[in-house]
């Protein structure tokens, strides 16, 4: 029998064997011990069994026997339970102690079993050896236990342990919460570059699920073009691990799961744990910041460009009046280079008399009462001439330095000033001339009035007394004298006519225009019916287009039509088939051209230039009477309405007068169509002379 198969070294086997095998081992040990005792110490029979001591009192015997047996059985079961427990709780400290206890209790058990045996059999040697073994194991156990006590005392008690566990749980939970609460994406990477831990921000930022990243190499998050170099950088960090930003001075990019890259900022920190050495990277998406930076940059560039290339002079001026930024236009305005200007104060370039002009405004600006102000100031150009400027000043407070500075803008208004002065001069001149003209007009008016009243009276006397002479001295006058007196009378009448026409012409100029929409067709109808009444023997055909209208002075339009239609009436007097037509043509430019056409005497176009001159006549007064004022009046009326008038004529065939009454079109020349139609038609005659006014007046006079 090999003793080494049993004994103390049961723990490795006990891990694999059940409690029954431990029992067997213990039994085998006892059997071996028994056999050895039997052999070595053969039991002489001189000792009495233990029952003698109890006087074989059956009750006492059985009390001992039963008790010892029960103790044995119990002692046998306790170590089994202990070993079973120890086997399941291998994590417990001092595991071997349970083994010692087991052995010692089993030994005790066997001593109690031996007590039962020795009641009837006097095997006291065997019993003694058993006790010795038990003593041995007990002593060893006791010693070991004593040595163990300080160690066991040092063991945390279960409550402390529970607290500790809870604390750790809380700490871990805190750590998790902290990790998730950090606004940055966190990735903890081990020495091999494998991701061991990430937070939700990392998932969100890179678009991966947690399971997809943990265990992967960190390079999965690095754009392809940087990926090959990354492990090198990583290794370098592990060489010299300390908290530092990654890739200082470089633009870093992260790679999203969908392939998109985005700018990031990464801080690296070393992380030493029980489980080894890690690097904790804190990753921040800086897209928004980049965008804002870019926008800010653009904005600054825009401002700079707007400032520099503005058409008006601009300067940023400190509160002390020194320019610290000036633009091109300001340099041009005062003739200095920007370097020279920056060395000057604002007052240096201001005309001395104007330096204090805006003092109160500046005070109010500084007091926050007004946001800005505008003032006209004079500045001195490098070559000493004055520049008139419109100065606009506003106040800007620098948020960072809390200092304020002025934004000054200067618009060069020298030209404007010059023009303003010129306009002023012209206005003065104009109003002077205007009052002169008014005075002249007033004089002219009283002159007109005087002419109207006084010039005709002598004519009346000449005519009246010549007539009286003829009537009273009829018998004394020969035919020659009578003829002379009749000429005197005719001249007087003619002079009266001239005076009337002249006054009418003056009136067309003097009269104030009262504009209204005038029905020209109706006006022409009225004029023609007047002509028919005053000259009932004529049977002319007159065609007046319907719906002719114009905006202007109705009275002057009547004078115009009276003259033109009266002319046409007069110059067709030699024909039996006289025709007059009044109409209008719409020209392509939108201009409306009115025309009055007759088939009368016509005139030689050679003299067309004289047509509208006052007192100009193209016909003999004997043939066609008139003073030569009518067309002058017509032209004046047309011009006063902003229109033009011209005529086409062929001698013996007729005349057409064209006129416009629209000021907007007065720069246009007569168009081809009007010329064509004029040439193709029987042209007409003109008299620049006779006015219908006269005819109607005569007629009016006759009615009185």
């Amino acid at each position: 029998v090999n003793a080494s198969t049993s004994g103390f070294d049961i723990s490795p086997n006990a891990r694999r064997l059940g409690p029954s095998s431990i029992f067997c081992a213990a039994g085998a040990l006892l059997a071996v011990a028994g056999l050895m005792v039997w052999r070595i110490f053969p039991t002489p029979h001189e000792y009495m069994p233990h029952g003698f001591c109890y006087l074989w009192d059956r009750k006492l015997i059985w009390l001992h026997a039963t008790s010892d047996l029960l103790i044995f059985l119990s002692y046998l079961s306790i170590p089994i339970t202990l070993v079973y427990f120890a086997r399941l709780r291998r994590d417990l400290p001092f595991n071997w102690m349970f083994l010692c206890f087991g052995t010692f209790i089993i030994s005790c058990g066997f001593t109690h079993a031996m007590e039962v045996w020795t009641l009837w059999h006097a095997s006291y040697w065997l019993s003694g050896i058993l006790k010795a073994i038990t003593a041995f194991t007990s002593v060893i156990t006791a010693v070991l236990l004593m040595r163990l006590v300080p160690l066991a005392l040092a063991l945390p008690n279960p409550k402390t342990l529970r607290n500790e566990v809870n604390q750790r749980k809380r700490a871990e939970s805190k750590f998790r919460d902290l990790l998730e609460a950090v606004p940055d994406a966190i990735a903890v990477v081990d020495r091999e570059g494998r991701i061991v831990l990430i937070n939700a921000q990392t998932e969100k930022l890179f678009g991966y699920e947690r399971e997809e990243l943990v265990g992967q190499e960190i390079e999965i998050l690095v754009p392809g073009r940087y990926r090959s170099r990354h492990p090198g950088h990583r290794a370098a960090f592990f060489e010299e691990p300390r908290l530092r930003p990654m890739g200082r001075g470089l633009e870093l990019y992260g790679l999203h799961k969908d392939g998109r890259e985005f700018p990031v900022e990464i801080s690296l920190s070393p992380l030493q744990t029980d489980e080894g050495f890690f690097v904790c990277s804190s990753i921040r998406d800086v897209s928004e910041r980049k965008r804002v930076q870019l926008a800010l940059k653009f904005s600054e560039e825009r401002f700079s460009s707007a400032f520099e290339h503005a058409a008006i002079g601009k300067a940023l001026v400190t509160s002390g009046g020194r320019c610290f930024k000036v633009n091109r236009a300001l340099c041009d305005l005062v003739g200095y280079s920007s370097e020279e200007l920056l060395a000057k104060t604002f007052n240096d370039i201001t005309f001395p008399e104007d330096i204090d002009a805006d003092r109160s405004l500046v005070d109010r600006l500084l007091a926050g009462e007004i946001p800005s102000f505008h003032i006209e100031k004079r500045f001195v150009h490098r070559d000493k001439h004055l520049v008139y400027g419109l100065l606009s000043v506003s106040l800007v407070r620098d948020e960072l330095s809390q200092e304020f500075y002025f934004v000054s803008q200067i618009q060069d208004i020298t030209e404007r000033k010059f023009v303003e002065e010129k306009i002023n001069d012209l206005n003065n001149e104009l109003s002077r001339r205007n009052s002169e003209l008014s005075a002249i007009n007033k004089e002219l008016e009283s002159f007109s009035y005087s002419v109207s009243h006084d010039l005709r009276a002598p004519l009346r006397a000449i005519h009246g007394f010549s007539q009286a002479l003829v009537e009273d001295a009829q018998d004394k006058l020969g035919p020659q004298e009578k003829e002379h007196l009749s000429r005197v009378r005719a001249a007087a009448v003619r002079m009266g006519q001239l005076i009337d026409d002249l006054l009418a012409l003056a009136r067309t100029s003097r009269r104030e225009l009262t504009r209204e929409d005038v029905d020209l067709s109706r006006l022409a109808d009225e004029v023609v019916s007047q002509l028919r009444t005053s000259d009932p023997d004529r049977n002319l055909r007159v065609d007046i287009a319907k719906g002719l209208a114009a905006n202007g002075d109705k009275h002057l339009f009547r004078v115009l039509l009276e003259n033109l239609l009266g002319n046409a009436w007069k110059f067709t007097s030699k024909r039996l088939d006289g025709q007059i037509e009044f109409g209008s043509q719409q020209h392509s430019e939108g201009e409306r051209v009115y025309y009055i056409r007759d088939n009368g005497a016509g005139f030689d176009m050679k003299y067309a230039g004289k047509l509208f001159g006052a007192f100009q006549r193209l016909h003999d007064a004997n043939e066609f009477p008139g003073t030569g004022v009518g067309l002058a009046s017509v032209q004046r009326i047309v011009h006063r309405h902003g229109g033009r008038i011209w005529a086409e004529s062929v001698v013996g065939q007729g005349t057409t007068f064209y006129f416009t009454l629209d000021p907007a079109q007065d720069n246009l020349q007569p168009s081809e169509s009007s010329l064509d139609s004029a040439v193709n038609r029987p042209p007409m005659a003109i008299d620049a002379a006779q006015t219908v006014l006269t005819a109607t007046e005569k007629q009016g006079g006759g009615q009185k």
Partner: protein, 144 residues
């Protein structure tokens, strides 16, 4: 009675001639300026010793010395006694302003003196016929 207010002797002569030749026999009183006309009508000034005249018609020139025709007309119309006396403005001018003011102040007619004496003669004939024969005077204007 006709009151002729006329400063021009030629015109006065011709007017009288035209009226006489038309057989108008009524008395014709002549005033040579506005003041005289008003004195005659209101019995003031030089004519304070006479009764005020009450003409059947006044032939009134406009351009007169001292007080002009329109002013004479204004005062006539402002006076209860002469308010309704027929006034015919007989003048050289046909200025719009004159016509407008004349009618505005209550002239009954406005006749322009033509240069042609034949026309003037005709005008005088018609005026006499109309105002002295055809026209029925306002009752209040009758001599009381």
């Amino acid at each position: 009675m006709i009151l002729l207010v006329e400063d021009n002797r030629d015109d006065e002569e011709l007017t009288l001639r035209a009226l006489r030749k038309n057989n108008i026999q009524n008395e014709i009183v002549i005033a040579r300026d506005g003041v005289e006309a008003l004195d005659l009508l209101f019995a003031t000034g030089a004519h304070a010793s006479h009764e005020p005249i009450v003409p059947q018609v006044i032939l009134l020139d406009l351009k007169l010395p001292k007080v002009d025709g329109l002013e004479v007309l204004r005062r006539l119309r402002a006076n209860q006694g002469t308010r309704l006396v027929p006034v015919v403005i007989l003048t050289s001018s046909n200025e719009e302003e004159d016509r407008l003011q004349g009618y505005d102040l209550g002239a009954n007619s406005y006749v322009r003196k033509p240069v042609d004496f034949n026309q003037f003669f005709e005008a005088a004939r018609q005026l006499g016929l109309y105002w002295l024969v055809l026209n029925e005077p306002v009752p209040q204007c009758r001599k009381s």
